[in-house]
Symmetry: C2
Subunit: 116 residues, 2 copies
DNA sequence: GTGAAAGTTCACCATATGGCAAACAAAATC
DNA sequence: GATTTTGTTTGCCATATGGTGAACTTTCAC
């Protein structure tokens, strides 16, 4: 497995796979054991366990084994970190487009002055 | 290059690399040509171009060549799509924890009734 | 205590990723 | 028109990813 340096690397990587996103989506509704999580997917348990491990190592889910079943649940913090990063980028972009709109407006009113 | 089925696959994959996230961050401030974008990074142009292509194929940026320079800019829509997905998951999780809190509260008040 | 259930580990495979160096193309500059 | 600048293509490499089947462990139920 690759060593993702930052938590964002690992979180976004984990989210880039549809199986893993579906698992997250399922887990937002309630915690669940491995077998139930794996049921909707057309792949063997070993492959599915790899996905779970990617999710766990990214910090997007936590798992705990009691008896012979392993229960998984979402850790909302990591999800929120990723969301924050995206929000920040959108805010920066928005700030720029706002400044640009201001500038264009200023130019237009200046042109109007010159015309009048 | 892998064929990501959905735009979310491609977007999250693109965002899982620190170089590519840095490029997005830079581009939120203003469009820029390839060479300027590549300057902060300790890698050759060919490697950097691969990153740019991943970003472009994911729809997170658009590029246009005029003369010998290629100018890149953020496409905010894709960023917003990814953010929306995360927001949705958080909302689902929140809804559940709210229901859970309600339930616990109900149980507690019932217990109090039984106690009194 | 036998057997099924739920995970887990292992060895293996094809393909994708992320980097390099070198050669090339096209446009701007002198 | 020779040179530099900017980007592009090509071939190559090591490692990561996402899957498989087979063997194994532990726990639960009978």
């Amino acid at each position: 497995m690759e060593n993702y340096k930052t938590s964002l690397d690992a979180a976004f990587h984990a989210l880039s796979d549809p199986t893993r996103r579906a698992v997250i989506n399922r887990l937002t509704k309630s915690p669940a054991p491995v077998k139930e999580l794996a049921k909707p997917f057309d792949m063997g348990l070993p492959a599915f366990l790899k996905h779970l491990r990617v999710l766990e190592e990214s910090g997007l889910i936590a798992t705990e084994k009691t008896g012979r079943t392993r229960t998984c649940q979402v850790k909302i913090g990591r999800l929120a970190e990723a969301e924050s990063w995206l929000c920040e980028q959108r805010a920066l972009w928005q700030a720029r487009t706002d400044r640009l709109a201001d500038y264009v407006e200023t130019q237009m009113s200046r042109d109007t002055e010159n015309d009048g």
